[in-house]
Structure formats: structure tokens, C-alpha cells
Amino acid sequence: MLEVERVSRSFGGVAALTDVSLEVGAGEVVGLIGPNGSGKSTLLNVITGISPAERGVVRFDGRDVTSLRPDRTAALGLTRTFQTPRVLHRMTVLENLSAALFAGSPKVRRLRKADRERLNGLLEECGLGRRVDELASKLTLPEQRRLELVRTLVSDPKLILLDEPAGGMTPAETEGMARLIAEVAARGRTCIVIEHKIDMISSLCERICVLDFGRVIADGTTREVLEDEAVLDAYLGRRDIA
């Protein structure tokens, strides 16, 4: 479904990504981990067209999307969340979803009863059913992250990119978020999940890719990667594993 081939991206002479390659098949849930500044979010920005690659190719569903704008990649079925949750604070929770529906579905001109019911259903599922009419600014951080996740589902995407979906959450909240992502994945959605919480990543993903200094240092099954010498040295540390 997604092929990232020898992609490079730099900012003012600092190489954020160097020759990064990654393949994600349909229905896979792939973890993307690495130290802060290793290029994980940059890779998501490259894939979604926010910050196009300087070298290399990104293919999505067989189509070259390397230089497509974010709205074009979204139209192809690629959606994402952000490291710092981005919700529309001046809109209600339901309006956040309806705005996403309008943005992703040009044929939907106004919110009909069936659309409203579907969006309400999505909010019920992620535990925001009672906050439908609240302004999004009143949501707590975990609620905002859940709203972001459910927003990605509105336009029925093919690939969901989640950038630290449990960032800033307590262990209990993290567990709840992991359950939600697992439910999304169980419906056959393809996901790439960036996360520092290794327990969450290992419970969700069968495959992990590790970045360090903008390069892929490991890519394999969760078990292989978590025991990889280079990964232990660069990111996980040996004491954590012992």
C-alpha cells in the first residue's frame, strides 16, 4: 500500500531523513519508533505532502505521491493525527467531525440525518458520546487525542498515520487509547503508529521500524527489533530490557 523509497529531507543543511525506505502492506499496523529528533514526524510530513521529499519516491496504492499537496494525499485516502493534538477549538466536538467529513467528501454539501447519526456513533464508540455538543476547547488532552483519532475515520481512509497518539497520557489513558487503536486496526485499517511507549507499540504492532538520526536502523518483527543490538544502543537502552 505504501512504499517509501530512499527518501531524504533536510532543513537548512541538517539532514532530517537520509535514504529512508519503508514498505507498509494493506492491513498492517507498523510501529515507528526512535529517539526525539530521529525524523519520525518528518517522515509522516513527507508521506502526507506537508514537507515533500527532496530525494526519493513515495508511492501510495501504486501512485507516486512524492510531490502531491496534503489535500491531494488526503483525497487518495491518507489521513493523520499530530504530535500536538490539532482539534478545532472554536467548534463543537460534532462540528469537528462534520468539518472533516466536508473536507474529505466533496459530494457532501450539508450534514444530513444519516451523516449525523454516523458521526454520533463514532463519537459514542470512542467515549465522546456525551460531549458531542461541547466546544472542543473544553476537552481534556486524552479526549482531544481521541477526537483526533475518530476524526481520521470520518473520511473512510486507507492509511492512518498516528503521531504519538498517547503522548502526555497516564498509563490508564494510554491503555484506553491502545484499545481504541486496536479496534480501528481490527477493522482492517492500515496504520503507522509513532509512539515512545514501547509497551503500547509492542501490543499493537507486529512490525516495527526504528529511525535514528534520520536513518532506518532496524525494520522487522516486533520481537526482532526489540532485541536488536543497534536499537538497544540507540534508543531502548540495555537496562530497560534486562
Binding site: T48, I50, R69, P70, D71, A74, A75, T79, R80, F82, R86, L88, H89, R90, M91, T92, L94, E95, S98, A99, A100, F102, A103, G104, V108, R109, R110, K113, R116, E117, R118, N120, G121, L122, L123, E124, E125, G129, V132, D133, L135, S137, R151, L153, S155, D156, R187, G188, R189
Partner: protein, 317 residues
């Protein structure tokens, strides 16, 4: 009705178009100091149509709106690649350019032995259609408010549909909107064109009420005021800018108690609101609270839940 009151109310009505024009851009996240240029273009174009070409009022009004909308398109295409302050400065430069063009724009024809049409800085005299048709100031005021009601109704419809949601989405978070599938340039150009056309309608109405246009009327202060109306009245609904106009023209300009101090009070009011209510009196939170109150007070229990009242369906995978 008192003649002075009719004039004040007519002014409030006409300037409301300019305020709504700036409001449309504000909700999409753009600050324009140049909406007075489209007001001027609408005024000149419709004045030329009725006074020189012999068109009727309504075709002249539509032509004024179309000319202003077309000019807005010409402005939007290059300037919307600019962001934030750069766009604001670009619109200011454009408006001053338009004003200076009208200062040297001469296009006159002889009608009944008299030269009619724009004559550079001397202005444009003889836009007499309303008087020739014997329409009273009171009836013209009613006409202004009828057109304003039409534009407001259109904006309310827009706000409840896809276009309005996308404009507000762009206004709050452009990057998010783009990653959700919004073509930023297309929707911002569209907003600029609609805003230009709305200002053009106001200009057309202004030209026919005053019968005389002078380029210096359309100066930067008119643009600053149009922007301030939304920021005072609020950006949560299209009624907000009208409240701003009402406060400025209806209260500060018209009440004698503020005579000579209008700009001081107006400036102070804008400053206070920017500090304490940066999105105006009727901001999104206020509108949300009002809607919630209305729903809780008057709506059926089914609608109060914000949904259909039915149990939610399971989302499709």
C-alpha cells in the same frame, strides 16, 4: 420617520456590507485592510452603469457586485500565496492602488448637455437614478435592508453547509484543513471573491444614495473600520459585524455626546475588546452558549442531545 434617523440607518445598512465583507475573510483566517477597494469598485461600476449606460438599478447593482468580485479574484490569486501580515499589507497596497487609480480615472459622456462620469479627483457626479425614479430616502433605506437581509440569509445558509465549515476550518487551522483534504487556495480565493462581491453590493447602494463619489472617501480608514466591526461585534456569526457597525455608526458617530471623541472611544473599544474578547462580543463561544440555551429552552428532547435522538449506529469499517 425622521430624516436624520433614516440617513443614520441607511449608513448602518450600507456599511454593514463592508463589515460583512471583512468578516468573510476574517473567518477564513485572513485580515484584509483593503475591502474598501471593492466597495469603491462596486460604487463606480454601478454608478457608471446607471448614470452613463442607462442601465436599471438592479442590473447596475449586480454589475457592481460582479466587477468587485472580479477585482477580488485578481487580488486573491497573487496575494493568497502570502500569509498573515504579508496578505494584510498586500490588500492595503491594493486598496491604495485602486483609490489612486480612481484619482486619475476619467471617463465621461455628455448626457442632456451635461458631462457625466468619473472625473479623476473631482469625483463622479450625477448618479441620479434613485431620484429620477422618485424613490424616497425612506424607501431606499428599506431597499438597503432588504438586500442586506438577502445577503445575511445567504451567509447563514453558507455557514450551515460545507463551504462555511471549510472556511471556518481554514480560519482556525490551515494545516489541519489541508491534511483533511481542503484545497486551501481554492477556498480562500472563493472567500475573497464572495467578500469582494458583498463589498461591491454595499458600494453600489452607497453610490446611488449619495449620487456623488469621491476617491478619497475610499481611504484606508474605511478599511480599518470594516475590519474593526467584526472584531467588535464578534466572529461567531454574521450578526457580529452588524453589531460592530451599530455601535460605531449608530452610537459613536451619531450620538452627539461623543462628538469629537468618536475615534478615541472607537479605538479604545477595539483595544479593550482585543484584550478581553479577541474574537468580539458574539464570538464562537458566545454563539455556542446561545444556541445551547435556545436548544435547552425551546427544542424537543431529541434535538437537545445534538443528534437525531436515536441510538447511534455502529460505524462502518
Amino acid at each position: 420617520m425622521d430624516e436624520y434617523l433614516v440617513q443614520v440607518l441607511s449608513n448602518i445598512g450600507m456599511i454593514s456590507f463592508l463589515a460583512l465583507s471583512a468578516y468573510i475573510l476574517l473567518i477564513t483566517g485572513e485580515i484584509s485592510f483593503g475591502q474598501q477597494a471593492f466597495f469603491a469598485i462596486g460604487a463606480y461600476a454601478s454608478g457608471i452603469a446607471t448614470a452613463m449606460w442607462g442601465w436599471g438599478f438592479w442590473p447596475g447593482l449586480v454589475w457592481g457586485a460582479a466587477a468587485a468580485g472580479a477585482a477580488a479574484f485578481l487580488l486573491a490569486w497573487p496575494t493568497l500565496r502570502m500569509r498573515g501580515l504579508f496578505f494584510a499589507i498586500g490588500t492595503l497596497a491594493f486598496a491604495e492602488m485602486v483609490r489612486l487609480i480612481f484619482e486619475i480615472f476619467r471617463y465621461q459622456v455628455e448626457i442632456d448637455g451635461e458631462l457625466v462620469g468619473p472625473n479623476g479627483s473631482e469625483g463622479f457626479r450625477g448618479i441620479r437614478y434613485i431620484f429620477e425614479q422618485d424613490i424616497s430616502a425612506f424607501h431606499y433605506m428599506l431597499l438597503i435592508y432588504a438586500v442586506l437581509a438577502g445577503v445575511l440569509a445567504l451567509l447563514f445558509v453558507i455557514e450551515r453547509t460545507r463551504l462555511g465549515a471549510i472556511w471556518r476550518m481554514l480560519g482556525e487551522d490551515e494545516l489541519l484543513a489541508e491534511t483533511e483534504g481542503v484545497n486551501r487556495t481554492y477556498y480562500k480565493v472563493l472567500a475573497t471573491v464572495v467578500a469582494g462581491a458583498v463589498a461591491g453590493i454595499g458600494g453600489a447602494l452607497y453610490a446611488h444614495m449619495n449620487t456623488y463619489l469621491e476617491p478619497k472617501i475610499f481611504n484606508v480608514m474605511l478599511g480599518v473600520h470594516s475590519l474593526a466591526y467584526g472584531l467588535i461585534g464578534g466572529l461567531g456569526t454574521a450578526f457580529g459585524p452588524l453589531i460592530g457597525v451599530g455601535i460605531d455608526i449608530g452610537l459613536l458617530e451619531s450620538a452627539r455626546i461623543f462628538s469629537g471623541y468618536r475615534m478615541i472611544v472607537f479605538g479604545g473599544l477595539v483595544a479593550l475588546l482585543l484584550i478581553f474578547r479577541p474574537r468580539g462580543l458574539l464570538d464562537e463561544a458566545a454563539v455556542h452558549a446561545l444556541v445551547a440555551w435556545w436548544r435547552n429552552t425551546f427544542s424537543s428532547p431529541a434535538k437537545r442531545s445534538g443528534g437525531s435522538g436515536r441510538p447511534p449506529e455502529r460505524p462502518g469499517a
